[in-house]
Structures are given as structure tokens and as C-alpha cells.
């Protein structure tokens, strides 16, 4: 048996923005593979480039931004430089995305039902026939999707406008829209940030359920390592536009290798370290303008040394783990 091919393969991606302050390198050499059916968590603090990385995957980077290099392959097909027309037939159908902020991502002037229906009408080849038939079939699917994300009485609520929905319901509607065409890959950008803890769990369970029934891959962007620990097979930690550590969730969380990941884990209160004082990482994320070639974390790192001012490459440290540090700690055997 040959080894399974990744459904999404990002390698050495560079995404830049021209701003009035200078050139911002929001994504700098990111590489990441996602296997079919797998759930990959992407963590990192605000501004680390999570959203921009996956906006690049969706082909949604617009001037003043551009993809400056690297490759993004979806099922072996190169996406960088692909025509808008081909991209459009991919988006929403094979790769779907939910946006970070559900409150602003739904169109306030259109009913929620319409907003699911149009994605079905745009992509679903089973919805065919006369205009009337298509609408009827699509409507049935809309109701089915709304039921799937547990919106009560979908038959009437599909005529509601987004403002008539609660935050959690809007989040679930956005997931329903993303899942309407049964995509192979779902990119969920902070699907739970705005939600309270119980609804947060509901939404994540829902995504997991659907992932298992549809067999799709999920990229879960979050800054909550607890969420990653619970729902993701693998995790990639981003810092200042780079992936600085990645690997199987258990292994990375159990034995973090990069000083930044270690700091992140220390800063989370959990059962294991309740007695220890929570220690936030000192210092600030560097500006993404005029970056020096050395390690991005150097200003905040306790164990830095001279060599850290040189370019630090991603290194393989076994067990499917990679790390961008010259002296990774944590004994990975």
C-alpha cells in the first residue's frame, strides 16, 4: 500500500502586504500538510498569521497583499496562480471556510436561508432541473443543513435575517453554509472564540461529528490549546508568521520542544499545573516589518545564544515532529 497523499500541502508559503509603514511579511515560509480525514489545529497568538495563511489557501488575498512565493497544493493541484474561475469552482465546494467573526460574516440584508441556498445552487450538481425544481430541492437541503447544525424549527427560521439569530446560532449557520456542499476540507477560523463555554463545546462537537460522518479534513484555527488538545490529531504552532513547531497533538503538548510552545503551555492553567503560578511569556511579538533573519522568538527566549541570530530552519526531530529552534528541548526519542 502506498502512503496516503495529503489533501492539502502548503510549502514555504510567503504572503506579504504593502502598507504605508513598509512591507509586512504576514506569512513567512509556512509549510503544513493535512491528511484526508485529519483534524489539524493551528494555534498562535493574535497577529501570528493564522488567518492570512488560510486566506491565502482560499485565494482571498487581495491587493495590497499578495502571495510572494511557495506552493499550495490541494489534492495535488497547485492553487498558487490558479485562475479566478477555477478557484471559484473549488471554493465552497471542495474547500470551505468559516470566518473568524460570525457576526460580520453573514450578510445582514439577506435571509439565512438564502445564504445557504445560493452556495448549493452554485455548486451542487444534484440540484438540477427546472428553476422551480431546483429551488425546491435546494430548500429541502437548506432545512436538512439547518437541522444538522441544530437550528430549531428550520422551516420557519430560514426566512429570518442574521440579526434575528443569536451569536451561537449565527456561528452554526456559518458552519452550515460551509458544510452545505460536503467539502473535503473545512477551514474553521476560530469557530468558538465569540461563544460561551457550553455553546463552544456544542459547536466543536458538531464539527467533529460532521467530520466523522463526511470524512472531511478540518483545519481548526484557535488560540486555545485546550481546544486543540481535545479535538485535533495534529497541531501547528505559529509565531510571527512562521510555523515554529508542529507534530501530533499529544506529543507536542506532552513534550513541547520549542521554547515558545513551552511558554504557551506554562501560561495555561490546567489540572496539572494549578499549583504553579501561571507565567505569561515576557516580551512582545516582533513587528512583521524589517525582520532580522534570525529566530523570531529571540527577544523573548530564555535560552537564546549567539547562533540564534542566524537564519533558523525547520528541523525534523522524529515522530512526525518539526521545530524551528537550534536547540530544541524536550526529549523526543
Amino acid at each position: 500500500m502506498t502512503e496516503a497523499q495529503p489533501i492539502l500541502s502548503i510549502s514555504n508559503l510567503q504572503t506579504r502586504f504593502a502598507t504605508r509603514y513598509g512591507l509586512v511579511t504576514a506569512v513567512d515560509g509556512v509549510s503544513l500538510d493535512v491528511m484526508p480525514g485529519e483534524c489539524v489545529g493551528v494555534v498562535g497568538e493574535s497577529g501570528s498569521g493564522k488567518s492570512v495563511t488560510f486566506a491565502s489557501v482560499m485565494g482571498l488575498i487581495k491587493p495590497p497583499g499578495w502571495i510572494d512565493g511557495g506552493s499550495i497544493k490541494f489534492e495535488g493541484q497547485e492553487l498558487v496562480g490558479m485562475s479566478e474561475r477555477s478557484y471559484r469552482s473549488l471554493r465552497g465546494k471542495y474547500i470551505a471556510m468559516t470566518m473568524q467573526d460570525a457576526l460580520t460574516a453573514l450578510n445582514p440584508a439577506l435571509t439565512v436561508g438564502f445564504q445557504i441556498m445560493e452556495v448549493l445552487l452554485a455548486h451542487d450538481s444534484q440540484i438540477s432541473g427546472s428553476a422551480r425544481n431546483r429551488i425546491r430541492k435546494a430548500r429541502a437541503r437548506v432545512i436538512e443543513m439547518m437541522m444538522l447544525v441544530r437550528i430549531p424549527s428550520p422551516e420557519t427560521r430560514l426566512n429570518d435575517y442574521p440579526h434575528q439569530f443569536s451569536g451561537g446560532m449565527r456561528q452554526r449557520m456559518m458552519i452550515a453554509i460551509a458544510l452545505a456542499c460536503r467539502p473535503k476540507l473545512l477551514i474553521a477560523d476560530e469557530p468558538t472564540t465569540a461563544l460561551d463555554v457550553t455553546i463552544q463545546a456544542q459547536v466543536l462537537e458538531l464539527i467533529t461529528d460532521i467530520r466523522q460522518t463526511l470524512g472531511m479534513s478540518v483545519i481548526l484555527i484557535t488560540h486555545d490549546l485546550g481546544v486543540v488538545a481535545e479535538y485535533c490529531d495534529r497541531v501547528a504552532v505559529m509565531y510571527a508568521g512562521q510555523v515554529i513547531e508542529s507534530g501530533p497533538t499529544k506529543s507536542v503538548i506532552g513534550q513541547p520542544s520549542h521554547p515558545y510552545t513551552q511558554g504557551l503551555l506554562r501560561s495555561i492553567p490546567n489540572l496539572a499545573n494549578l499549583d504553579k503560578r501561571i507565567r505569561p511569556i515576557e516580551g512582545q511579538v516582533p513587528e512583521l516589518i524589517d525582520l532580522t533573519p534570525g529566530c523570531r522568538f529571540i527577544g523573548r527566549c530564555d535560552v537564546r545564544e549567539e547562533a540564534c541570530t542566524q537564519r533558523v530552519e525547520m528541523r525534523n526531530i522524529g515522530q512526525g515532529r518539526t521545530v524551528r529552534c537550534i536547540q530544541p528541548k524536550g526529549n523526543v526519542q
Partner: protein, 335 residues
Amino acid sequence: MNFGKLIERLAQLIPVLLGVMVIVFFMMALTPGDPVDIMIGEQPISAEQEANLRHDMGLDLPPVERFIKFLGNAVTGNFGLSFFHRRPVIDVIAERLPATIELSLVSIILAILTSIPLGVLAAVKKNTIFDRVSTVGSLFGVSLPGFWFGILLLMLFAVHLRILPVSGRIGYAYEVDAVTHLLLIDSLIAGRLDTFANALSHLFLPALTLGLPMAAILMRVTRTSMLEVMSQDYIIFAEAKGISRTRILIRHALKNALIPTVTVAALETGSLLGGNMIVETVFGWPGLGRLVVESIFVHNYPLVQAAVLFYAVTYVFLNFFADILYTVLNPRVKL
């Protein structure tokens, strides 16, 4: 929209209208010139006859008393007789109104039909030559004085090129049965395409002059709100759904961008009322605007007062209508 709010809005009308009436009445009373003198002109007339005439016209009373009497009558819908026509003011106004309505409607439709597509295009082609040219164009549109632009058009199309008539509403040879009193519609009802074409040729230049500032403003508003809307998250999300660009523009963006545009259009219709007076005078258009201007010159108090009251009510209702439209278009707002 609940009933209490509606009553409240209507009640707000009263002080506004009262204020308008006070201003108009006393401005007219303070302008030099005497309507009785103007009416008499050069005719030989005795002092007694003149006093009778003055009494008939209600001008022998002091201004404050006249004003109170006028208000009392106005409440019952009686605006008195027009000084010169010797007919009820209401009748004279009603006779002139259709011409003004026709001109205004055509101007508004023309303005909306051109400005919205142009505004969308300017937003889509932001910072291109098209956008720049249309920006300069709309600046001209807003700032050109109507009388000047109107005369310019007249000189070009009516005097030099001789392809459009100089003034009036319809040629003498054309006549149709009045059904709606709007010539374009009446001529179509009568199946008279020649009359329709003639009416249209008379309408074109005044409608262009009247509609230009409105078109310019609406285009700017459309452009600005389109740009604002196009940068919203829901547009990016629509793109992430793989919806075609045209659909996104029309279904997702325009629907939101039109909310301010339509509201401004309703408000601008109010300013159009003022523009009517100038444009109708320049183009000899037999409408209410020209009637008011003429009446001001001859101190025809009852007519001016009634017409201004009519303008004020229309203006206030247009504002009111703009508010309602805003709520209807915007599902987030409940009135």
C-alpha cells in the same frame, strides 16, 4: 412601524409647517411693492375703487390679523383666491401641478437609472481613469448652477443644433385627452407616438438640468457605500463560498449599498422641488415652480403662501418616507 411613532412623526409636522408659514408670510409682507398697485397698473381708477379692491383682497387689515385669518382659513383647506386669476388658489395650483410632477418624475428616474450603475462601476473600477473622470464629473454636476447649465443646454441643442425645442411642454399641433394629466402617459394611452415623442423632446433638456445634481450626488453616495460594503467580511465570506463576482456585486453588495442611496434619493427629491422653480423658469415649463416665481414678482400672496405650504408638506413627507424606506430596506432596523 408602530402607530404611536407615526402619530409622533405627524405631530412633529405642525411646528415645522407653522414656522414655514410665518417666514413666508412676513417675508412677503416685508418685500417692497403693493399687489394692488401692480394690479391697477396704468388704469385710471378712483380712490374708492382702489379701497374696495384692497378690501376684497383682504389687504386692508394689518399684517398680523391677515396672518391669523390666513391660518384659520388654511386649516379648513381654504387658501383664498389668487389675486390675478380671481379663481381659488387651489384650482390654479392643481392645474399647474401635473407638469411639475411629470418633469420631476422623469428627472428622478433619469437620475436614478444613470447614477446607480455609474456609482457601482466607479467603485468596482476604483482609482482607474473611469473613476477619476466620474469623480470630476459628479463634482461639476453638483456645483454647476441649474440656470447656467440649463441655458447652456438650450443654446447648444435648441439654438445652435436646433434638434430640441426651446421652451414649453408640448407643440401646439399635439393634443391628447387628459387622463393622468401626464403627457407621456396620456399620449401612450391615446396611442399617439408622435405626441409622446414631441412631449419627450420638450422634457429632455429640463429633466436633464433638473436631474443632474441629484444624479451626481447619488452617484457619489453609491460609490462610497459600495466601497464600504465591498470591504466587509460578508463579501469575503461570499467569495469564500465560490459565488460568482456579478452575483456578489448585485446580490450581496448592491443590496446593502442601496440603503443609503435610496434614503438620500428620497431626501434629494426634496431639493429637487427648489430646483424646479429655476428650471421651469429657464425652460418656460408651465408648472408650479414657474407659477410661484411669477407670483412672487407680482405679490400674489395667497398663491405663494399656498404653494410654499404645499412644498413644505411635500418636503417633510419625503423625509418621513426616506425614514420608512430606510427601515424597509434594512432588516436590522425596526422603526
